[in-house]
């Protein structure tokens, strides 16, 4: 045994003394090189401050953002914006912020402002606005009220719009003509909508399968919460309590949804819609001329020219169904918004970019004179959220029905989604309930009651949790001398 051990030792010593050393040196070099490469990219050599901008758009909408970013980069030489198209940008941003490595500017949706703010993930913008010499009210008065409202949460400005959206009823004029309807006259009331839908629905004479449908509440199914307001119902009552199960109009809305499945047949509808493709494809229901009427946003025209050119369509306000006010029709508005996450390394520069994207030149006569907001909205063929539109914007806008969308956005009856911290859960519950009701899996009554109970529980829990956070923050603030006790400073909660 000893002999064996000695031999082994000797042999390995001979073979491995230099190779062992070489191995270790090689390892060090490898590790050093990898350290360098895994490090974060540094600032470009020209001395500009580099900020990172995450946005959700791809394709032509992404190219539009790129153009605006390029223009900002060329208009000044202090800041360089690096634009990245990121999928699931909201989730990635919250994760990145939680991890301490967020982008400097992120483009998310208005639906998330409240949650992000509640989680202390946003940098408030009022200080930046006031440092520029304007009051917050003045700054926000440039926007149509519905969009200004979406920027506020808890009395503070946490976001500003990048592009707005309004939703309108789109209809296929050719299919109207084929069904014997006046192609220039969209349905104006709920009853007309249902009646037109009936006349626009075609079935195969042999199999009875649906080949074309006039209207389906689930196409595209992105805003089921809108149906409640449309019928005059509500998601929260005046006291701020959940009202989805208590407001009678909500029941009417869901019964209407169910009526479509009952009238056209669940299996028929399922089979029919299973052949639909994604939104950005020619197989989308409306694009493939299989759905005649659909609620869609101002971006729809852009997508139509890509995926179903030649489709003759019109855009109109929402038919009268009980919602809205006497001064203006009901419509819903949404916005893509910009936030500056908490913990970014260059908040001031981030603000400069956000400010640029929210700048408007109301007298612009050429493309070069456009402010950031109108440039982006023009390129993406959307309406502008500002009150005043420049002459060039109106003249050069590619959307044939942009006037309709402007009207809807400025209507007194237009609403946006509730800005509450539990909105994402609320929305999820509503969507699940909507699916179950339209799939005849539950009755409207039962579905609404269930959602009401669940969300009331969530809402109570959330408010209790916020209360706890506030008292903990206040306690922490009290422990430090000389701090302002009137407003709990979020940065001390860290």
């Amino acid at each position: 045994m000893r002999a064996l051990a000695s031999t082994l030792l000797l042999q390995t010593t001979r073979d491995r003394s230099t190779s062992g050393r070489r191995l270790i040196i090689g390892l060090f070099i490898l590790l050093a090189g990898l350290f360098v490469s895994a490090c974060r990219p540094d600032q470009p050599a020209d001395g500009r401050v580099r900020i990172v901008y995450w946005e959700k758009w791809t394709g032509t909408e992404g190219a539009a953002v790129q153009e605006v970013v390029d223009r900002f980069n060329s208009l000044q030489d202090r800041i360089y914006v690096e634009y990245l198209a990121v999928s699931q940008v909201d989730r990635k941003t919250i994760v990145a912020t939680a991890g301490g490595d967020p982008p400097d500017v992120a483009g998310i949706w208005a639906a998330q402002v409240a949650t992000f703010a509640d989680n202390n993930a946003l940098t408030p913008l009022e200080d930046f606005i006031e440092a520029d010499g304007t009051s917050v009210d003045e700054f926000l008065s440039r926007y149509m009220p519905v969009y200004a409202d979406m920027c506020l949460f808890d009395g503070r400005v946490f976001a500003l719009p990048s592009t707005p959206a309004t939703i309108a009823l789109h209809w296929n004029k050719t299919l109207f003509r084929e069904a014997g309807l006046d192609p220039e006259r969209p349905p104006r009331t709920l009853a007309e909508l249902d009646e037109y839908a009936r006349r626009l629905t075609k079935r195969d004479p042999d199999t009875g399968e649906i080949t074309q449908i006039g209207f389906l509440p689930q196409e595209p199914g992105w805003w089921p919460w809108a149906f409640f307001g449309w019928f005059g119902g509500s998601l929260f009552d005046e006291e701020g309590e959940v009202s989805i199960g208590s407001d009678p109009h909500n029941l009417t809305a869901m019964e209407w949804v169910r009526s479509y499945t009952e009238e056209y047949g669940l299996d028929d509808i399922t089979r029919f819609t299973s052949g639909f493709g994604g939104f950005a494809s020619p197989q989308f229901g409306f694009f493939s001329r299989r759905v005649a009427m659909v609620f869609q946003g101002v971006w729809f025209d852009n997508y139509m020219s890509q995926f179903s050119p030649g489709l003759d369509y019109g855009a109109a306000p929402w038919p009268e169904a009980g919602g809205g006010t006497t001064e203006g029709p009901f419509a819903i508005a949404d916005a893509d918004i910009l936030i500056i996450p908490r913990g970014t390394s260059h908040p001031k520069e981030a603000w400069e970019f956000v400010k640029y994207l929210n700048s408007v030149n109301p007298k612009a006569e050429t493309k070069a004179e456009l402010g950031g907001m109108e440039l982006l909205c023009l390129l993406q063929a959307k309406n502008s959220p500002m009150h005043d539109w420049s002459p060039y914007f109106l003249r050069a806008h590619p959307h044939p029905y942009i006037g309709v969308f402007r009207e809807l956005a400025s209507s007194p009856g237009v609403v946006h989604l509730p800005m509450v911290g539990i909105w994402q859960e609320y929305d999820r519950e509503i969507t699940t309930m909507f699916d179950r009701i339209r799939l005849l899996d539950t009755t409207p009554n039962a579905g609404l009651a269930y959602t009401h109970t669940r969300i009331t529980g969530t809402w109570n829990r959330h408010r209790k949790s916020m209360q706890r956070q506030r008292s903990a923050a206040a306690k922490a603030a009290r422990k430090l001398p000389g701090t302002d006790r009137s407003k709990p400073n979020p940065s001390q909660i860290e």
Binding site: T97, A98, N119, D435, R461, A473
Partner: protein, 299 residues
């Protein structure tokens, strides 16, 4: 302690030093911390705030929690036994002197080392309700009954079966383990059994299975632990953490992840994690007790 023992202690600790750090930082601290967080409101962007039993009481009343638990148990309840049956059958087939055995073994094993993301994409494509090749193959069977093939991942009733089916494709790993176990069974047992006139079925039941029972037990435990934590396939195939359609594929790990990182409710997620821990420990203990009588250890 003697001087020699002291010396050995220092040496032993020296060798284990990396593990002491690793265990402390990457295992023990997180275990303790997550236990603490499970009793708090914690969003990682703010300090944890003590909330007592609230996370656990919310869990009891949280329908989505129960749905996720149910989904996971259904999945595990089917995929573990079915996986066991399939991999054992394959191993039994491979346990014969057939030509090209290595080729067959490769074919069965390869899918289990394919990156899960890639295989999830592939099966998503195969299960596609419109253009998927699976529906083309089994369509005629359904049409015999006057029905149409299912929409798989688009249909709440068929989404879990789709995931279970896909899990069967990856049994290669267990197959190899069973094969190794089968090859350890002494041939004399089979020979004397055939001499006594035992049928194949009897040989299987009375010799093979008892002889490989430790291996079956091992695979069972691994299967339970793994299937209760399944995440990647579901995340990729259903496009996120919603468990679409209609939460039919909302599995426990998925709900936990989305609660922690999308809702930023890390206290609640930690509470869920501990419940999972207890569940796994409980099931493992039950399996061990039940198996104790049946496992036959030879030598």
């Amino acid at each position: 302690m003697t001087r020699g023992e002291w010396r050995n202690l220092r040496i032993g600790l020296g060798f284990s030093s990396l593990w002491i750090v690793g265990l402390g930082v990457f295992t023990l601290y997180p275990v303790a911390a997550s236990l603490f967080y499970s009793f708090c409101d914690y969003s990682i962007l703010q300090r944890p705030v003590w909330a007592g039993m609230e996370n656990f009481s919310t869990m009891l009343g949280d329908d989505v929690f129960w749905i996720s638990l149910k989904n996971t148990l259904i999945f595990a309840g089917f995929s573990v036994p079915m996986g066991l049956a399939v991999s054992l059958s394959l191993a039994l087939l491979l346990n014969h002197e057939v030509r090209g055995r290595a080729v067959y073994r490769t074919i069965f094993y390869l899918p289990s080392i394919v990156p899960i993301v890639a295989s999830s994409m592939l099966w998503m494509w195969i299960f596609n309700g419109q253009y998927g090749v699976l529906n083309w193959v089994i369509g005629p069977l359904f049409r015999l009954w006057g029905d149409s093939p299912p929409a798989w991942l688009g249909d709440p009733a068929w989404s879990k079966p789709a995931l279970i089916l896909m899990s069967l494709w990856g049994v290669g790993n267990s197959t190899i383990i069973y094969l190794a176990g089968l090859q350890d069974v002494p041939k004399e047992y089979y020979e004397s059994a055939s001499i006594d006139g035992a049928s194949s079925w009897q040989r299987l039941r009375y010799i093979t299975i008892p002889m490989i029972s430790p291996v079956i037990y091992f695979n069972l435990i691994m299967g339970i632990i793994g299937s209760l934590q399944v995440f990647t396939q579901v995340f990729v195939m259903t496009g996120g953490t919603d468990g679409a359609p209609a939460r039919s594929t909302l599995f426990y790990a998925l709900y936990l992840f989305s609660t922690a990182f999308y809702d930023l409710r890390m206290g609640y997620a930690s509470a869920m994690a501990w419940v999972l821990f207890l569940l796994i420990a409980g099931l493992t203990w039950i399996a061990t007790r039940a198996a104790r009588r049946r496992i036959h250890y030879s030598g």
